[in-house]
């Protein structure tokens, strides 16, 4: 078993028509095209995603690219379990980047059934807004929105595995001249118990692949799962411990050139001019390329390209944004909330009346969060080669299908003249969605100016200064407590670029609730950051919930508990984390515990964090307990890793991370002034999954949102100091 990537130096030579077949449940033409793309000689290809070879090797084609979530292994587990495949002979390959792999039934499932709303805002623009557009364009090759296992796995992989198994049984029944009901399957074999006869899947595949497959095959009973729900080791890990995993940064091609780039420091600015001479004098530098808003140096390697770029003194305009700073943004957002009318609002009940009622206790607090950067460990690197009017690209992006389209538009050629080779990603977290990958347009422009393939590498400085940051945002929260200490009304007014209502699930039962958005844009290209808007809203809401508990003179856990419906999944998750963390047990001197509960991406997560503030003022998280209800779990080990990773990334961001603007430009430039959490500051993380039959929730993102508020609440418990602004950085004791 292992992940076999398509040899990226080889063109389409391996694509020989094999066992083509008809499929009833999805669009025939698209699926046929997909079958053609993945078929090898003498192999049976089932649906779009499974190929069984004569030697029993089962190849599963993943339309998604992994950036470490383990979801590709999860997809393989789902298909192989329903297929009853021999796991030791399962391999995964990346599906070719082709519209055939983005099919309408899955698009519908993603957009209409799996999520309680239509397309999430951060995917809009990728998919268009009307359903017709979604069905045609929703690139199921998007890896994002914690959706891979939920959408492709549930609706694609399990169906493909079960349908292929049914076809193998039918074929075996014919050959053995027995009734299907007498046959069983195990480990890539069909068995006839009565006669002791057995047929390998590899012997049956070519014939079985010619059958019309059922759109609604019989699924296994969950009690019979051998792979789903088991902590199967990830298929991609062996290549990640010996240096053989090839990321976009690592692409090597004959005659490869390397370029690096500097864009206008103030986003929105243009390149006014540059004298190329200082770079051209450096050995290895071939060209200085001027783009509309950037200058790039093309060279024989990264080092000459970098020193060539550094030798230049380009002049850029400021796009009229020179007055913009983080403090001016914060002040303008706060003023907008105070004086303007909201652009979007939702909620229930009469909040103004609840807040104005006599005898209530009113609370009001202002919160603010800065821009934060994805800081994926692999800086952007994308390779492009223009040859004979065709464009070939190699790199790691969250949606290779749509990225191909973006590249075609930038090159002004038709999409079918563009081939995209998806590579493993060294982190992504929302940064590599095509709407935010300026590097695609840049590398296409650069590739036009050289007959050789060119790898454009962003320096870390470029990466930090030109991110698609989680937006800077401000919020004012108001609530009224009635005489029984219950919340009578609540309002959240927040200013940022994007309306976050669809991702902001208020889980508590209150008589009146209002969520109001004030649109506020800057020159920055705000983007989705792991957990998207649930992140900052989780911080506002769960911190303010703690403030209300204190005002009501109640325990923060019990106060939340009494605003949740008894018997609800939310209450069960909260009880579980309180119990496991020993919520009421005594603590070391100076330590405090904080609790927070957030639902995002259909998954309910509660954390308890034990924290203290050191003498130097630095907050320290000592231990995190997390309880998670995400419905059925495909791979518990991978699931635990995702929640743990989300918590640590969130701790890093709330402790130290901030992108700030001065005179319209980003101040930070590398890890010395944008520090990330290191191992020594990482707490123990104890994750527990609830037994749950709820529909599948996401896992990549939901660990993030409760982290900042649980830590802020713990610091309040330890010191009495309430934190309403991120990052926490230094907090001298109150």
């Amino acid at each position: 078993m292992g992940i076999k990537r398509r040899a990226f130096l080889v063109g389409g030579a391996a694509l020989i028509g094999g066992g083509l077949f008809a499929v009833s449940w999805s669009e025939r033409t698209a699926t046929r095209r997909a079958a053609k793309l993945v078929a090898l000689d003498k192999a049976g290809v089932f649906q779009t995603w499974i190929r069984i070879s004569e030697d029993d090797t089962v190849t599963i084609f993943s339309p998604h690219v992994d950036f470490g979530q383990g979801s590709v292994t999860g997809l393989a587990q789902m298909a192989a379990d329903e297929l009853d495949a021999d796991w030791s002979k399962v391999v995964v390959e990346s599906a070719p980047v082709n519209v055939a792999f983005a099919n309408a039934p899955l698009a519908k499932g993603f957009a209409g059934e799996l999520l309680p709303f239509s397309v999430p805002p951060f995917l809009q623009g990728i998919v268009g807004s009307s359903f017709a557009m979604i069905a045609r364009n929703l690139p199921l090759q998007v890896t994002g929105g914690s959706s891979t296992v939920r959408a492709t796995g549930q609706m694609g992989m399990r169906v493909a595995g079960a349908a292929a198994r049914a076809a193998l049984i039918a074929t075996a029944a014919k050959r053995l001249r027995v009734r299907e009901i007498e046959l069983s399957t195990a480990n890539s074999r069909v068995l006839h118990a009565k006669s002791g006869r057995m047929l390998r899947y590899g012997e049956l595949a070519a014939e079985a692949a010619d059958m019309t497959l059922s759109a609604e095959p019989k699924f296994k009973d969950p009690t019979a799962y051998r792979l789903i729900g088991k902590p199967i080791p990830r298929l991609d890990i062996p290549a990640k411990v010996n240096g053989t995993a090839i990321y976009g940064m690592d692409v090597q091609l004959p005659n490869l050139r390397v370029a690096t780039i500097m864009a206008a420091p103030v986003r929105g600015g243009k390149l006014v001019g540059v004298d190329p001479a200082p770079a051209l004098g450096i050995k290895g530098v071939e060209k200085v390329i001027q783009l509309d808003n950037a200058v790039a140096v093309l060279a024989s390697g990264y080092w000459p390209a970098l020193i060539g770029l550094r030798a230049l003194s380009p002049k850029f305009s400021d796009g009229g944004h020179a007055a913009l700073s983080s403090s001016s943004i914060a002040a303008a957002q706060a003023a907008k909330i105070k004086t303007d009318k909201p652009d979007h609002k939702s909620g229930h009940g009469d909040v103004p009346a609840a807040l104005a009622a006599s005898g209530v206790k009113l609370l009001e607090a202002d919160y603010a969060v800065p821009f934060i950067h994805h800081a994926m460990m692999e800086p952007f690197a994308l390779t492009a080669h223009f040859k004979d009017g065709k464009l070939e690209l190699w790199g790691g992006v969250q949606d290779p299908l749509h990225s191909r389209k973006v590249a075609a538009e930038a090159a002004n050629i038709s999409t079918d003249q563009v081939t995209f080779h998806p590579m493993i990603m060294g982190g992504a977290f929302g940064r590599r969605l095509p709407g935010y990958c300026e590097i695609i347009g840049q590398v296409v422009q650069i590739a036009k100016q050289t007959p050789y393939p060119v790898k454009l590498i962003w320096s870390r400085e470029e990466e930090v200064k030109h991110g698609s940051y989680r937006p800077q945002a401000s919020a004012r929260l108001k609530a009224a407590l009635d005489q029984n200490g219950r919340i009578a009304g609540w309002s959240t007014d927040y200013a940022q670029s994007e309306d976050a209502a669809r991702e902001t699930r208020f889980v508590y039962e209150v008589p009146a609730f209002a969520l109001r958005h004030y649109e506020f844009s800057t020159n920055q290209h705000d983007g989705p950051w792991r957990s998207v808007n649930s992140n900052q809203n989780g911080f506002y809401c769960e911190s303010f919930m703690d403030e209300l508990a204190v005002a009501a003179n109640e325990d923060p856990y019990q106060f939340r508990r009494k605003h949740l419906p008894p018997g609800s999944r939310h209450a069960a998750v909260l009880d579980d984390v309180a119990k496991r963390s020993g919520w009421t047990t005594p603590l070391s001197a100076g330590h405090g515990r904080g609790i927070a509960l957030v639902e995002s991406f259909n998954t309910i997560v509660a954390h308890v964090i034990e924290a203290s503030v050191a003498d130097d003022g630095r907050p320290r998280a000592h231990k995190v307990w997390s309880s998670v209800d995400c419905g059925r779990i495909v791979n518990p080990d991978g699931a635990a890793a995702q929640i743990m990773g989300g918590i640590i990334m969130a701790l890093s961001s709330c402790l130290d991370e901030a992108i700030t603007l001065e005179q319209g430009a980003v101040v930070q430039s590398n890890f010395h002034d944008y520090p990330l959490l290191k191992l020594a500051q990482a707490p123990d993380v104890d994750v527990h999954f609830m037994q749950s039959n709820a529909s599948m929730g996401g896992l990549g993102e939901p660990g993030v949102p409760p982290t900042a508020p649980a830590l802020a609440n713990a610091i309040f418990a330890a010191t009495g100091k309430r934190i309403r602004q991120l990052p926490f950085r230094n907090q001298s004791k109150a």
Binding site: G68, P231, P233, I237, P238, A239, K240, V241, N242, G243, T244, A245, Y247, M249, D250, Q252, K283, G284, G301, W303, L306, I307, A375, M376, M377, E378, P379, I424, G426, G427, A428, F429, I457, S459, R460, E461, P636, D637, G638, A640, A641, M644, G645, G646, I648, M649, S652, N670, F671, L676, L677, K678, L679, A680, A682, D684, V685, D686, H688, F689
Partner: protein
């Protein structure tokens, strides 16, 4: 200027600007791409290699400074027959990597730490393991180092 270096027990004569960082020679001249570029200022450790047995961040070392020295990269730590180094095996057993981009550097740092200390304590690990991981694999890195040195057992986590 031609510079003699030894990488993973092979000798190379490198023609390069003497200021070129070792990282780019390893990656672009020798084609050993397991050593990664992360920051270029020695802050993240993705480019960690061993120079004469000591951990070093190769993005900051000019090639001229390692003339005649022995370099070891992630590609050179398994046995010649392919048997994984105990640290690599522990990384698989504890299912450490997520995106995996920083893990070559993390493994090189862990191998150097164990070589130096023998049985590192949690405090040694905290002090020595300063490479950045954005995916948040730190708790599993701790476990894997303890496991590689026989100080902890690891099994793939089912429900923890």
């Amino acid at each position: 200027m031609a510079i003699d270096i030894e990488v993973n027990a092979k000798s190379y004569l490198i023609e390069a600007d003497p200021a070129t960082p070792l990282l780019w020679v390893i990656r672009e001249e020798l084609g050993l791409t397991g050593t990664k570029f992360g920051c270029g200022i020695g802050a993240c450790g993705a480019c960690s290699v061993h120079v004469d047995g000591e951990i070093a961040r190769s993005c900051l070392i000019p090639i001229a400074a390692v003339a005649g020295k022995r370099i070891l990269t992630i590609e050179g730590i398994s046995a010649p027959n392919g048997t994984l180094h105990p640290v690599q095996q522990a990384w698989i057993d504890a299912q450490v990597p997520q995106c995996g981009y920083c893990q070559s550097g993390q493994i090189m740092a862990a191998v150097a730490l164990i070589k130096k200390i023998g049985l590192p304590s949690p405090a040694h690990i905290d002090e020595a393991m300063t490479n950045i991981c954005r995916c948040g694999t730190y708790p599993r890195i701790r476990t894997a180092i303890l496991a590689a040195t026989g100080q902890a057992a690891v099994a793939v986590q089912g429900h923890s």
